[in-house]
Amino acid sequence: MNLDLAIVDYWASSGRSLWHHASAGAKIILVAAIVIAAVFSSSVAFLASAYILVWILVLLSGLPILPVLGLAVYPAVFSVVFVVSRWDGTWTTPAIYLLRALCAGLAAVWLVGTTPYPDLFAPVSRVLPRFVGDALFLSYRAFFTVAAKLVRLSVALRLRGGWGRGGFLRRLQNLGQGLGTLVLFSFERSQRVYAVMALRGHSGRVCGCRHWSARTRLDWIPVVLAALVAAAAFGTRGAP
């Protein structure tokens, strides 16, 4: 089972690099600059340079290379359909589409791999409606419990022959019934979470901590890098 979210969450909580100590706000500014610049740029040179920059950030963060490489490849897989459909006989068009997606995807993985989720979601939830911001926090928290249950369900299905016999449709039916037990668990869990929230004096808002906005001495680095990326993107506008 592919539990990338759990792995990345562990990197963010256990990492001790300089980037792990920088504030979430500064890192969000840098990643926003990289993503926006990548999406708007049509310069292969700029996109390749930005991609190298993000890899340097990953290496300096001490994130494990092979798992990051695995995550970094996902956007390329999703882009292949678009690359093939927009094939115009040149190598630059596929390179642009691939590099845009790879650059933005790797920047996102770097951000989430160096920033614990309360710091990451707290600023985001401030601009979202309260209901949605709270749902973001609760979904992330619930994921680990539900995913652990799903792993056990998957193992149980295989051990009891629910995954190997009866063809594809029969397997899917067994999976559907198994997921039914997880839906029941989700309903029960939501009642328990509600009870816990009420006991702890829930005031109608799941609050993220204010740690995300606490400035550190290192914050100037992501902000300066963001400005450089934006300037480079503007400077290479229209260049091949």
Partner: protein
């Protein structure tokens, strides 16, 4: 995959920008409508969003083929709350490179449409069909709707100039870039669109079948075990097989 996340940089800026604005508007409307809900409803949205995320982590075959469960979550939560779930799930997935940041709005609208159509169809069919068939048909309708929306988005993207055409257009018009292909090149757009459909349709067909069987089986299971969880079956539990109605007895 029963759905294909759009990556960053594949769509023109005005298209993903419209997706962000429309999604934000829908989120605001849904939030206002549900602001007085009990907190356990919010916790349920969180738990079912987590279930969607976890189901996407369960590979069903090669190439990371996985379920989305959007129609199923729509049947359980209703279209509005399921759209919140879709947004949350797409935002978290974007952090891992599954779909882009800038296209979270468009991806959420496509996934949310599957949930909303699934919810509506299920409510229509719940009293007319068995739970399995009601759930399976609702899942198929949801998936067909989201496929239509996806094709519409990528069709529009195909009709806009690519990076090379934009550059050539800017050179010819002294820096002014065209935002649509010239009339003489519309054939290119159709060719691109045809290629996309050919590439993606087999995946969608298998994905829709998988969503239908899994959705139907889950709804059938819940109707047997705890029908009160299903909005449309809440007042009328499914009768066990082999027993007649009380009137006939």
């Amino acid at each position: 995959m029963s759905h294909l996340h759009l990556p960053d940089g594949a769509l023109p800026w005005w298209l993903w920008g419209s997706g962000v604005v429309l999604s934000a508007l829908l989120l605001w409307i849904v939030s206002r409508r549900h602001r007085d809900d009990r907190p356990d409803r919010l916790a349920l949205v969180g738990a079912l969003s987590a279930l969607m995320l976890a189901a996407m982590a369960l590979p069903l075959g090669p190439l990371g083929y996985h379920l989305s469960l959007a129609p199923l979550v729509g049947m359980l939560l209703g279209g509005g709350l399921a759209f919140v779930s879709a947004c949350v799930v797409n935002a978290i997935l974007a952090l891992l490179g599954h779909g882009g940041f800038t296209v979270v709005g468009v991806n959420s609208l496509i996934t949310g449409l599957a949930a909303a159509l699934g919810s509506r169809t299920y409510r229509l069919l719940a009293r007319r069909a068995t739970p399995f068939w009601a759930g399976a048909t609702a899942a198929v309708v949801g998936m067909v709707g989201s496929l239509a929306a996806w094709l519409l988005v990528v069709g529009i993207a195909s009709a806009t100039p690519g990076p090379r055409e934009m550059r050539e257009s800017a050179e010819q018009h002294h820096g002014i870039e065209e935002t649509a292909l010239p009339a003489g090149e519309r054939g290119i757009a159709w060719e691109r669109f045809g290629r996309l459909v050919l590439l993606s349709l087999p995946f969608w067909l298998v994905g829709t079948l998988a969503e239908a069987v899994v959705g139907g089986a889950t709804i059938g299971f819940l109707a047997r075990v705890n029908p009160s969880l299903l909005p449309a079956h809440a007042r009328e539990p499914v009768k066990p097989r082999g027993l007649g109605s009380p009137e006939k007895a």
